[in-house]
Amino acid sequence: MRHSCMLLLCWQSDISGAPNTPGLSQYDIYNLVICCSQARIFNETPINPRRCLHILTKIIYLLNQGEHFGTTEATEAFFAMTRLFQSNDQTLRRMCYLTIKEMANISEDVIIVTSSLTKDMTGKEDVYRGPAIRALCRITDTTMLQAIERYMKQAIVDKVPSVSSSALVSSLHMVRMSYDVVKRWVNEAQEAASSDNIMVQYHALGLLYHLRKNDRLAVSKMLNKFTKSGLKSPFAYCMLIRIASRLLEETEGGHDSPLFDFIESCLRNKHEMVVYEAASAIVHMPNCTARELAPAVSVLQLFCSSPKAALRYAAVRTLNKVAMKHPSAVTACNLDLENLITDSNRSIATLAITTLLKTGSESSVDRLMKQISSFVSEISDEFKVVVVQAISALCQKYPRKHSVMMNFLSNMLRDDGGFEYKRAIVDCIISIIEENPESKETGLAHLCEFIEDCEHTVLATKILHLLGREGPRTPSPSKYIRFIFNRVVLESEAVRAAAVSALAKFGAQNDDLLPSVLVLMQRCMMDSDDEVRDRATFYMNVLQQKQKALNAAYIFNGLSVSVPGLEKSLHQYTLEPSEKPFDMKTVPLATTTVSEQKTELAPVASSKLPEKLAPSRQDIYQEQLAAIPEFQGLGPLFKSSEPVQLTEAETEYVVRCIKHTFASHMVFQFDCTNTLNDQLLQKVVVQMEPSEAYEIVQYVPAASLPYSQPGSCYSLVRLPEDDPTAVSCTFSCTMKYLVRDCDPNTGEPDDDGYDDEYVLEDLEVTVADHIQKVLKPNFAAAWEEVGDEFEKEETFALASVRTLEGNTVNSFKKNCLMGIVIAPDWLYTHSVA
């Protein structure tokens, strides 16, 4: 009792205006426990609104500061607060709503205020109604929602904007919880959309779209209606533009559609917000032509000279994106961008410079680089990454400038910065090295310097790997050894292990370095970490054999299998214990995707989610095929082709084929879609007539094919054994099936059907289906490994080898005019002059 008296005293001195020390908040001296015990003032009669208000404010303030609130305390304070509904003080009542919302997660029993809130929501006081709706919807669950449904419907169409907006936004929040209930309010939302109030329009549009987004037709109708009638709210216009561009993207409609016209017309809207949204939507559309971009670019150009920093930022950021795909479209803005490079907002300046780097001429590069290095230390990491990406693009465009760039990058590498930033620089240097052989030595030297003081394990291992690959082939490989061995002495386990592998590569390729490498290896064998020791011992033994083939197989070329495939095979192996050792050959080979994943230079938006290794397309097929009993025992899947269309696009049935190649079989997967809504197809099989000695083993039919639901049937074919060169073959295909007519509305099929057939286009099996791209990181070693007996010198007239197209030409380019490809049982080596 005395305790509470003391609190009361201190409380009174507080509100009677006791002087506060400046800078120290009067709230700081309380904590939640005291606050809650003060909440007993709520029980006094008559209620003192001012004091109660102060306590509620403190409770919310402290919650906002992140203070922890125990469930019992919260519940107690909450119960005391419910009594405050008796007071008619407006601010106090509004603070009660806020407290309810804040406590909804902490206190149990918030539900008991439902009736008070319902009363306020339907009462006469407009000031209460909106906030009461928001508080009520926050604590309502699905079952209680039914009870207030009637009031919600009324509130949505209420003529007071704050009530209507609150009801619409709360409905939107509840869609996730009870979609079915909220869906019944569509008509009311529709009515609200024609309100005069701009916010109500916006919220109604948002709710309507959310309820209909899975029904493309309804969305399209809605868009049609609103784009014709015109809205007053700039927010609603932005929303319409987003919906329209989304629909355009989904339907892949041409840019002559009315939706595109609508977006373009918004470029002339009187609100800057809408104009910018429209310009940004056009810029982000895939396959936009320069002519379509022009009006959007010219409004962005105008924005560049706006006095508002946010608008300049938005404009230059969007122009930066345009410059990635259509540098020429932005050239017209160069003058305006030049003015921005001295902008006091460094983000704007950076974006302007990186855009100019993309659009400007080679001669301006030096000047821009100098300008940017003057303030690179002031900008955030996100923008530094943008700068690095711009440099990377520049190096591809003007290879002669690489020395300027390399210098700049090495300076950036020395500065402080986060992981993303450093990674971007390292990636950029690596890509320069790969494209300009003359820059290799300087680049490697910079990277060596970087790993001397690098806290990021991932980067250190990456660079060590690169050194192992590139270092031995430079004129003086010995100078890298020191950097690598320093890692063995100084770094963490993962880095040490990577350093050992890199050392081994030097030893394997440079005979004069071998003795020293062996000595160093010997020291690594005494490492404290198992992995490092194991690697050292392994490499030591391989290197001592001094055999090229061994070196190639175990040192240069790592695993060439697909990682998810290996994981699955190993898992399978552990599930079924057997006497046999695990066979690496059963794992499907990795497809070459690594070198082609040039990440697009989209600025920033660094996702916080860890990148998950997605299983490749082939791994997915492997799994699907393994699930079909007929195809067991075929061994690992060697290759799956791209889908081949066997019908025209707009026919009754759409069929495409994917060819899966196994060691001695092929499986043809036919993906069929029935586009007739009055037919149900059953027992669908594609019959095949081979032109060569291929043998059809089995057909696996698709049981039934209802309207617009794709299904697959398969054919299993054995490759001719006696003639391994008969790799190409043409199959004539006919689809056979049982038709049952059905009612298009209900989908109910007739009882009896009839057989029918449908002739498909011929399917070709070509050499390409038996050839797989493989990763040979070290081409020269792989070449030696194959040996002389397989070496043949031949001249190909490339134009006639039609069947190899796409598959090899790319890899020819990649590997400096030489490529190596392997088929299941035999080896092809190509050299192209």
Binding site: P49, D89, M95, P131, S165, L172, A309, S347, F383, S607
Partner: protein, 192 residues
């Protein structure tokens, strides 16, 4: 009991290797007010970008370090667009995703600032704000609801918050206050 208020935005979805963004009303990820030491005066997060208090405070620290020296209105931080404004010893921030329309975020920031400026009679500084925290809470509640922009017109916001003026009716004064004013009056009458 329902989950946290963060009805957060399922913006990010990736299809066909190209990111596209679901059109949605969820625009604002957070509203912050910091003082000139970077301490939190007010913070409201509307989605799960920073789920714990610790992460939030770290983010606020980062944001403050990057922005308090320059008065440049907009920045990109941790992959988020941040629009901001400072006045005397207060820093106002509105945060949205990096593909959000910057001008929309700006309209939220302006609305918040102008509403407070009216409510505090142009006296937008830390002390005045701390004395009117309830006004701030109610104003933010009227401007953004669960990440959706509820109102962008400061006049409307001030009207809806409808804070009572300083004229406290006699019945609501505390005993001390009455005694105090009585004392003053007696003092004055004696001195005269």
């Amino acid at each position: 009991m329902r989950g946290p208020e963060c009805v957060g935005a399922p913006f990010e979805a990736v299809a066909a290797g190209q990111p596209f963004y679901e059109p949605s009303l969820y625009t604002v990820k957070a509203v912050l007010i910091l003082d000139n030491d970077g301490e939190r005066l007010y913070a409201k997060y509307y989605d799960e970008t920073y789920p714990t208090v610790k992460e939030q405070k770290a983010f606020e620290k980062n944001i403050f370090n990057k922005t308090h020296r320059t008065d440049s209105e907009i920045a990109l931080l941790e992959g988020l667009t941040v629009v901001y404004k400072s006045n005397i010893d207060l820093y106002f921030y509105v945060i949205g995703s990096s593909h959000e329309n910057e001008l929309m975020l700006m309209s939220v920031l302006n609305c918040l600032f102008d509403s407070l400026s009216q409510m505090l009679r142009k006296n937008v500084e830390k002390r005045a704000l701390l004395e009117n925290m309830e006004g701030l809470f109610l104003a933010v509640d009227e401007i953004v609801d669960g990440g959706v922009i509820l109102e962008s017109d400061p006049l409307q916001v001030v009207h809806r918050v409808a804070l009572r003026g300083d004229d406290v009716p006699l019945t609501e004064q505390t005993v001390t206050q009455v005694l105090q004013s009585a004392k003053e009056q007696i003092k004055w009458s004696l001195l005269r």
